[in-house]
């Protein structure tokens, strides 16, 4: 058996072992043992993925007792790329969870679900045919639902979230089932290679494309089917949120790439336009919601919608450009999409783990109640800071390189001759720019309000990060990946080339990235060296000045001479985003409520002012509520049909039988 095949089998075996260990180990050792084996599952996945990317192949068949046949696994380079991403995130999160898991998160069920979830997720991109893909997909969905439910006993919103998640994830499954069914009927077989030989120009291909992309978009959290994300992420334990956000939603992106690059590679222009449009809307909507929310994990969840939107936008650009025969920029767009996947995995994993650490150390998830955590949780602050830089796409982090590649392909994709492209490209540039700008604000807010200034609550004041020794190294490793992908993106160029099947992505200088298809290159190390050299004279002058007059600590910050200085006078996350919320009033529709209580003596004197602001998800409010209400009403109406009388039920059956017979006769 080849090394790849061995790796695939090892993941399955290790997952089973981990589940058994989690079930049987004594509670005291459960987290450690199950965590180590789960990490091994992730690590094996990552190594297998690397092997696949390095060029080796391997196929295994896992017998099942289902009539559909065996599960066939044969990862393509594209699948290998996603295996690396999912495996690495899984391993880091599992190590983190050893220290983090406590209470319900350390229960038997939770620890047994995690390795199953990881293995299923890592094997989804390895599936060689539609049936295996769907089976693994469903396993991943079930295991993740069980993980979201971890905390269901203590928090009502967890049950609510799990319900939403289950409903949408099943919707996704149904859409995929239908989509694959259309393709399989056309191709006469379930193998991906067989499906890949279909003609993408046919109507059925377009139907399948729409169904499949809709299904994958649901998993990926694209607007308007993103509503499970901001509910499930805050509900799940943080390491699970990290895996779901950094790796699982990527399976939606993988699916879209699978359809667009492998199964139906040369589609018409409107496919690209469709992806681009939904990507653009998701990117802007996601980051807009993220920028005004003050629940840290909800913020990160919306930022995931934003990033997945950018990935879809990149993919859509690639398809659109390919359909009009613009090869170089299209290849860079695919590369940008893959770079976005890798960078988002790195920084979102870091951010969720750090958010978990904050929750663990201070008990707070509301940014409005945090503050001053930098001094109390230095490692968390460092990791979150690096992750935030990545999410804000600032040099020299992973996010920056990915967004740079995307913008390069957009700029060089300009084709005035084709008006569709000519209109789509500047709109996309504007969308990416607005997204980048808002992401900057969002993460300055998240970092600045949580980690700087003074604590806004007792929980934040008493925050600490001792204990749980595995959390810190996990966060640091993840943060290091953010920097590494940003500093030496050239090293990932080879992987991206193989995975996307694209040309013109190479290495330049030390480990800089070159997009020769669009004639652009950038070496982040050289940029950092330049910055360091320029910093030398500045630091020299600072030192000289400091020698003459050293820095002096004073007791109070300047508060206009005020005598009362309370931490409540600081800006909060809500007030920080207030100007933005006002600018985008029409899109966000916040509900504001100001209540002024006057003193009893005079109505000119104010006793207290209460301000309340509610920001609901507009999409959810407008499009889901009516559906849910309708379902409720239909349900009520249906109750009249079943009144418990056996005669009536038999009557229904009889009527149905007659109806069928009549239909057949016709």
């Amino acid at each position: 058996m080849s090394a790849v095949g061995l790796g695939l089998e090892a993941q399955l075996v290790l997952a089973v072992v981990a589940a058994i260990v989690a079930t049987w180990a004594p509670p005291r050792l459960r987290s450690t043992l199950a965590g180590v084996v789960s990490a091994a599952v992730g690590l094996t996945g990552a190594v297998t993925g690397v092997l696949v990317l390095a060029g080796s192949r391997g196929r295994i068949e896992v017998p099942t007792s289902l009539p559909l046949g065996d599960v066939g696994l044969d990862p393509s380079p594209l699948g290998g790329f996603f295996m690396v991403v999912a495996g690495a995130v899984g391993a880091v999160a599992a190590v983190y969870a050893i220290g983090y898991a406590e209470g319900p998160a350390a229960s038997r069920a939770a620890w047994a679900s995690l390795p199953v979830f990881l293995a299923a997720m890592q094997l989804v991109p390895a599936a060689a045919d539609a049936v295996s893909f769907l089976l693994l997909w469903e396993l991943m969905a079930l295991a993740s639902t069980s993980l979201v439910l971890t905390d269901h006993r203590d928090r009502a919103e967890v049950r609510q979230a799990a319900l939403w998640y289950a409903a949408l994830t099943q919707l996704s499954f149904v859409l995929l089932l239908l989509g694959f069914a259309v393709l399989v009927v056309d191709a006469g077989g379930v193998g991906f290679d067989l499906i890949g030989s279909l003609d993408p120009g046919s109507t059925s291909a377009s139907v399948a494309f729409v169904l499949l992309v809709a299904g994958f978009a649901t998993k990926a959290g694209i607007v308007p089917v993103h509503v499970w994300l901001p509910r499930a992420h805050p509900a799940a334990p943080s390491h699970v949120s990290a895996v779901m956000s950094a790796a699982m939603v990527k399976m939606g992106v993988y699916g879209a790439l699978l359809v667009c690059l492998r199964l139906l590679p040369t589609g018409p222009a409107w496919w690209g336009l469709l992806l681009l449009a939904f990507g653009a809307v998701s990117a802007v909507y996601g980051i807009l919601q993220a920028s005004v929310t003050s629940d840290l994990k909800r913020l990160l969840a919306y930022s995931t919608t934003e990033n997945v939107g950018l990935m879809f936008l990149a993919l859509g650009t690639a398809l659109l450009l390919r359909s009009v025969g613009v090869g170089g920029p299209a290849d860079s767009a695919v590369a940008a999409c893959l770079l976005l996947v890798a960078s988002h995995a790195a920084f979102k994993c870091t951010l969720f783990l750090a958010a978990g650490s904050v929750l663990h150390g201070s008990g707070e998830r509301d940014l409005d109640r945090m503050g001053g955590l930098g001094a109390r949780m230095p490692v968390t602050a460092l990791a979150f800071g690096v992750g935030a830089l990545g999410a804000a796409a600032l040099p020299v982090t992973a996010g920056f390189m990915a967004e740079w590649a995307l913008l390069q392909s957009l700029i060089h994709g300009a084709r005035p001759e084709d008006r569709l492209v000519a209109v789509a490209m500047p709109v996309a540039v504007a969308v990416v720019a607005l997204t980048a700008g808002l992401a900057l604000l969002t993460f300055v807010k998240a970092y600045g309000i949580a980690f700087l200034a003074r604590p806004r609550s007792e929980g934040a004041a008493a925050a600490h990060e001792d204990g749980a020794w595995t959390m810190r190294p996990a966060m640091l490793v993840s943060a290091a990946a953010v920097l590494a992908l940003g500093l030496v993106p050239g090293l990932a160029a080879e992987a991206v080339t193989r995975a996307g099947g694209v040309a013109g992505v190479g290495r330049v200088g030390g480990a800089g990235l070159e997009l020769s298809g669009v004639g652009a290159q950038l070496d982040p190390i050289a940029l950092s060296v330049m910055a360091a050299l320029l910093a030398v004279p500045v630091l020299f002058v600072s030192r000289a000045a400091a020698r003459r007059r050293p820095r002096r600590q004073v007791e109070l910050a300047w508060g206009c001479g005020g005598v009362r200085v309370s931490p409540r006078m600081q800006y909060t996350a809500t007030s920080y985003a207030e100007p933005l919320a006002r600018v985008f009033d029409d899109a966000l529709r916040p509900e504001r409520d100001i209540e002024v209580t006057h003193t009893s003596e005079s109505r000119y004197l104010v006793e207290r002012v209460a301000f309340r602001q509610r920001l609901d998800d507009v999409v959810e409010e407008r499009s889901y509520r009516p559906v849910v209400r309708l379902a409720d009403r239909v349900g009520l109406a249906a109750r009249r049909l079943q009144n418990g009388s056996i005669h009536r039920y038999l009557g229904y059956s009889f009527v149905a039988l007659v109806a069928v017979l009549v239909l057949v006769a016709l």
Partner: protein
């Protein structure tokens, strides 16, 4: 006239047409909008002149002169007088959608105009044809103003922008609508303006305001 100069002049007048329309949407003060409308009329007259000189057509030059008198002198003059009667500080304070959104909508409408004019490309690669999207964009801008402004004067201005857009498209594609048609249409417009002016003056003297939202109550 050399080809490149011709192309540049067409581009220039097209640019002024478009820019003045953008500024009309941007500004709140109605007297400023009227001034911009005059500038726009001037640009339209300039465009017609350029086309006329290029084709050596006296008829077009005459039309240019008429456009100039009507759209730079007569119409803005009338509007100015009306605005002055209402007090010079007349402003469109609360359009139905705020200015920021209108401006964003403008950029999308521009792109739409550019996109829908794709079939016109078969008419040739004359600079005049390439500039047709500008005319379509003006029509769309005019409609936007017409649909989103509350004040009767702003609506009138939107209507005039729309008319300029139709004129631009017509001149660019057909080398000009026949003189009679243009004259007839312009005279119609003049009539509309006069009637509206009389009406708003009456409404104003009766109700003290010309805000269209308040006018909806007149039904009852």
């Amino acid at each position: 006239m050399s080809d490149s100069l011709y192309a540049q002049l067409v581009g220039l007048s097209g640019g002024v047409l478009l820019l003045s329309a953008v500024l009309i949407v941007w500004r709140r003060s109605i007297s400023a909008e009227v001034r911009l409308l005059a500038v726009q009329g001037g640009a339209l007259a300039g465009l017609v002149t350029v086309l006329g000189v290029n084709e050596g057509s006296t008829e077009l030059l005459v039309v240019a002169g008429l456009v100039l008198t009507l759209k730079v002198v007569v119409l803005p003059g009338l509007l100015f007088r009306a605005v002055a009667r209402h007090g010079a500080s007349l402003r469109e304070e609360t359009p139905l959608i705020n200015t920021t959104t209108s401006l964003i909508a403008l950029s999308l409408l521009t792109m739409l105009a550019f996109l829908v004019s794709r079939p016109l490309l078969v008419l040739g690669d004359d600079p005049a044809i390439a500039a047709v999207p500008i005319g379509i964009a003006l029509v769309l801008y005019g409609f936007l103003v017409l649909a989103t402004r509350r004040h009767a004067f702003s609506q009138l201005i939107g209507f005039l922008v729309l008319d300029n857009g139709i004129g631009t498209v017509a001149f660019l594609t057909a080398g000009g609508i026949p003189l009679v048609v243009e004259l007839g249409a312009s005279l119609d417009l003049l009539l509309v303006v006069l009637i509206l002016q009389v009406l708003t003056a009456r409404i104003r003297s009766e109700f003290g305001d010309a805000d269209l939202d308040d006018l909806t109550e007149l039904r009852d």
